[in-house]
């Protein structure tokens, strides 16, 4: 049955407990997913801390990479949310680096893709939206809700426009989390399906091996595409976070 399990495209998303942990009736077991979460944090933190240990005025290659990731995130946040948005920089930088590294770790064969768990991406998007709401209300009080009342809209259609604004605001965490989750999940399933074709076809003898060339090419192409998607989705998540934070800082349209 092992062969069948290996060909099953959903198999890669299964959750196995490694260390059982129950607190107050809740199952907080340390699973393979938890392991890759911790690994992601370790990779990001070690990369950024070790590479900047020298504090070189002239950066080494590793330090240069850390500086590039820093400046990339910083310019992304500054261009969307302005200079006062920079106080959210640790959050944006953490999110961007965590999602990017989690996606990239997922590209290794047999490694788990943490961002293919809907609850993980949903937790990230709720973190962003709650940060937006709390920061917005703390800074602007009730004026934060002007976000839902655009200026210069006639009174007659204002309720309709406000309703649309509210719905679009509520749909933000959903779209933010589903976009990342669905991209990672679908990409990995597609990859696995095409890879499984290679295995299935090449079991059929010479003709099958020749026929397996096509899915092999597809697998290679999709792997390249998945690397692109892994980087792009981390970028998209971070950019949207910056745009939503901009709403918290400047709620009036």
């Amino acid at each position: 049955m092992a062969a069948e399990g290996a060909l099953d495209p959903i198999h890669q998303f299964e959750v196995h407990p490694i260390v059982d942990l129950h607190v107050g009736g809740m199952d907080l077991s340390f699973t393979n997913v938890s392991l890759y979460m911790v690994a992601t944090t370790a990779v990001v933190a070690l990369f950024l801390i070790l590479s900047t240990g020298g504090r070189g005025l002239v950066p080494s290659r590793w330090q240069s990479m850390a500086e590039m990731s820093y400046e990339f995130s910083a310019s992304m946040l500054r261009s969307s949310a302005g200079a006062e948005g920079m106080r959210f920089f640790p959050l944006v930088f953490s999110l961007f680096m965590f999602i990017l590294v989690a996606n990239m770790i997922g590209m290794f064969p047999y490694f788990y893709t943490v961002t293919s768990q809907l609850i993980v991406t949903f937790a990230f998007s709720m973190l962003v939206i709650l940060t937006v709401v709390i920061a917005g209300i703390r800074q602007h009080g009730m004026r934060f809700f002007k976000l839902f009342v655009p200026d210069g809209v006639p009174m007659a259609i204002l309720p309709l426009v406000s309703a649309i604004e509210v719905i679009s605001f509520i749909s933000r965490p959903v779209s933010l989390s589903v976009r990342l989750f669905a991209n990672m999940l679908a990409g990995h399933i597609t990859l696995k399906v095409f890879a499984a074709f290679i295995a299935a076809l090449s079991a059929l003898g010479v003709v099958g091996i020749l026929g397996a060339i096509l899915p092999l090419i597809m697998t290679i192409a999709i792997t390249a595409l998945e690397f692109l998607v892994a980087g792009l989705q981390a970028y998209v998540f971070a950019v949207l976070t910056c745009l939503y934070l901009n709403d918290a800082l400047h709620p009036s349209h």
């Binding site: 299964e14 199952d27 907080l28 699973t31 938890s34 500086e67 953490s94 609850i119 990230f124």
Partner: protein
């Protein structure tokens, strides 16, 4: 109980039972609510740790490195600008001083030239004065000699006339008459 779920579902998924709906054992793993508390807890732990490290270590350090570099570059540029201005000032001072020195040298040369010219003039005048005096002396002496010679000529002529008269005629002529006659003849 939940961990039993996890274990059982893992076991069953390996056997290909994947199309069971959400909430039931061996659900599609991303939608399996039984694993959510574990995911959320460990995500909070790992991401919380990352955020803490970002806040306390990474962002201050990277920000510090970049700021140091910016400051250093700005400082170096400022220093370069300051040195350039200093150089310009030094060149200007040098040129002013050079011009001053040249002017002073010209002044000294002109003064010296004038002094030498005046000296030469004075010497020349002195020499000329000396010469004029000598010429005047010589001229006066020549005059004296000439007068003396002329007076002697009268005496000689008178003597000669007396001797001639004594030879050709036996008369003794008066000396004063002869002298008068000679003077008359000379004029």
């Amino acid at each position: 109980m939940a961990s039993e779920n996890l274990a059982r579902e893992a076991a069953e998924a390996t056997h290909g039972a994947v199309d069971t709906p959400i909430g039931v054992e061996s659900a599609f793993p991303p939608f399996d609510a039984a694993a959510f508390p574990s995911h959320l807890f460990w995500l909070a732990v790992s991401f919380g740790l990352l955020y803490f490290l970002m806040l306390r270590v990474i962002v201050p350090r990277l920000g510090g490195i970049l700021e140091d570099r910016r400051d250093r570059i700005a400082g170096d540029l400022g220093e370069a600008e300051r040195l350039r201005e200093e150089t310009d000032a030094a060149i200007e001072a040098y040129e002013t001083e050079l011009a001053d020195a040249r002017k002073k040298a010209h002044g000294i040369a002109a003064e010296r030239r004038d002094q030498i010219k005046a000296d030469n003039e004075a010497k020349r005048r002195k020499a000329e004065d000396g010469l004029t005096e000598k010429v005047r002396d010589a001229e006066s002496r020549i005059g004296e000699i000439k007068a003396k010679a002329l007076s002697e000529v009268e005496d000689i002529a008178s003597d000669a006339v007396e001797a001639v008269i004594a030879t050709i005629a036996p008369i003794s002529a008066d000396r004063s008459e002869i002298t008068a006659a000679v003077k008359a003849a000379k004029e």
